[in-house]
Subunit: 455 residues, 2 copies
Amino acid sequence: MNPLDYVHVNRSKWLDELKEFLSIPSVSTQAEHKPDIERAARWLRDQLQAVGFPKVEVMPTAGHPIVYAEWLAAGPSAPTLLIYGHYDVQPPDPLDLWHTPPFEPTIVGDDLFCRGASDDKGQLYTHVKAIEAFKETLGAPPVNVKCLFEGEEEVGSVNLNPFIVAHKDLLAADVAVISDSHILGKDIPAIVYALRGIAYVEVEVTGPTGDLHSGIYGGAVHNPINALCAMIASLHDEHNRVAIPGFYDAVRDLDAGERAALAKIPFNREAWLKEAGVSADWGDPDYTIVERTSARPTLDVNGIWGGYIEPGAKTVLPSKAFAKISMRLVPDQKHAEIARLIEEHLKAVAPPTVSVAVRNLHGGEGAIVNRDSAAIRAAFQAYEAGFGVTPVFMREGGSIPVVAAFKEELGIDTVLMGFGLPDDNLHAPNEKMHLPNVYKGIETVIHFMTTLGAG
Amino acid sequence: MNPLDYVHVNRSKWLDELKEFLSIPSVSTQAEHKPDIERAARWLRDQLQAVGFPKVEVMPTAGHPIVYAEWLAAGPSAPTLLIYGHYDVQPPDPLDLWHTPPFEPTIVGDDLFCRGASDDKGQLYTHVKAIEAFKETLGAPPVNVKCLFEGEEEVGSVNLNPFIVAHKDLLAADVAVISDSHILGKDIPAIVYALRGIAYVEVEVTGPTGDLHSGIYGGAVHNPINALCAMIASLHDEHNRVAIPGFYDAVRDLDAGERAALAKIPFNREAWLKEAGVSADWGDPDYTIVERTSARPTLDVNGIWGGYIEPGAKTVLPSKAFAKISMRLVPDQKHAEIARLIEEHLKAVAPPTVSVAVRNLHGGEGAIVNRDSAAIRAAFQAYEAGFGVTPVFMREGGSIPVVAAFKEELGIDTVLMGFGLPDDNLHAPNEKMHLPNVYKGIETVIHFMTTLGAG
């Protein structure tokens, strides 16, 4: 039996195992899920041992553990592939918008619904099973393999960079691969060659030292919610561009060639509007929707709160108002610099009647990968074989800061071999993974490793 | 024994009873406190029966019940006084800012801390005990008395107006009295001759139909939080005036005489800043702090929420954002018209990329009372006797819509005989009542009823 046939006969068994993995609510941002994070790490360790990795370790960090595994059976002349993934997931809220329980994997048609199905447990899983297929048919994978699976991707991977720096020899490899992105459609495989970075801050505006009665003090005490809203309104100009001074200074402009290439990506405006759930698009009129969502920097308020937010009416003039604000960054914006610029701007526009504190929640640099490397060419051929379609090149709007860390600390490029779909509802209710993409994904990974090993 | 001596010997016993009343968490805006509301109504009924009212009834409404009592012992030639108060209280949150449990009455120095201590259980209580003093010393109060104690003041008194309209004969009186406001200081009694009205709306801004990943859609889908913030920012101009078109059209200007009188109210800017807990005041520069907080209309966001508001970072582009907005109104602004104007304005400034819904949560008209009536003169003398100081006339920033209803439906003026203090922390953590004001309050009510009865 060859590895591809082995995939075919094991689909049903592997689906049951994936459901088991998904049912662990490994939410990294909430302290009460710490035991689930640890359970998910142990589950992965057991899986990696079962599929044949001779060395598997759950390695502690200052936060959630990293699961590391290696299998160097291909020998020193074969390339070494570093596989990165994350076993933590986003919080499932708002719970009332889920059609099925967020941590009960549920199949509807060809889709598997569960928090983490696509981001990233279901995608990470394709690599584990590709290696099992090699083990059970050929005895071992055709390349040397190292796995680095972290549990803090959804909280900014704060302990990953120190881990990489502290374990450069352990992680030494020729190229990295990550399946934590989406292709353009069921039959439109795509290779992501650029990622955006992120700067994520929390803003706290304080007015009076305590909550006041708005009927007694309103009109003579500055309301911190009103003040915060005006400050947030100042973050965009009338062309929907980010209005923080200096925000665009380092942005690498899109050249005409790249804009022409991006314009060739299949894009259906009506389908996009429907998928986004809006009647009209929004944004900088000088750029297309594809450019705005992948190749241009953005700013979004991800959360805001202050005052009385329960049912009914309370006439409070609150002491404090808060907002979480994230900015997607493009090369060559640096997240630390952008976090500094927004803090400076917010403090500059804040009226003297309130005080402002800005906390840096997390940051990551963007990345652009060389499209002409051997690994990217291998990925191109693997998609063609796995999906039966020629893939396109695209930029991704989301952030995978580890790509920048791999380049900087290990000196290697990363192949972004996504198997998700644009409507997977990442970070939102009803996250799902398209099941055929799981199986095609395993096959694509098998082709990729085979080509890399033969190279 | 005369009624004033009776007050003196019963202080300790009455304090225990007041604590019992305060310990009932009669929060009217939260459904889970419905049994507590009913318990508070029964407690009041039992009290009124115990102090001698021959007729006491707990009367149902479509919401929380009204406690009605009458004692017409003074005869048809004596005036009839309608006493209004409310036994419901604001929610205690944010709980973590209370220094003592919000529903465990706690005495610190001369202050009694508890939600409702000043607003309005502790103030309402002064009338009940004044009548007990008359009963136990003179056999009956010197005026005919009707009590109207409602349980929905903190949720906009939605069922009070229909009750008044349906019971005009029952409530017929010569004048009303309400103790639900504050004087200017421990030794600065004040008679409130004007109240502000209120219009309170909730705004819901919808962007995409579901929550989205901000890395995938940010920059091309309008974020409803950003949109809401810009809309809220448009509600004030650069002079901190309300920028809703037409908002000031009906406002009755302050004449020079009234401005001069208001300027005579003892006001210490430094003390006010300290009490408010701010380093600087804010507002329309054309008016003084006293004018802004009592004689001019205002707008405050009382609550705002949307997106991810738990600890940590979530990169969501939310479907919805909400705000609760209230406006304090002055004669002759009408709350229904103002609610219509803000809805119109918010919809006019909303970009086409979001949809906006505005719900009217509640409204009440402001009022100005005739300063030269016999009842106001009686109140003036009563404060002089009760506090030993000449009172001043002032306007109150808060809203007691029932004053307008009494004028309109029953044709009577209302005496606002407050015993609270400016730093009582109404609607905020650590609400308290200054205990000497409770006892001076009971004595002032005794003087007031005596003068009225002799008139």
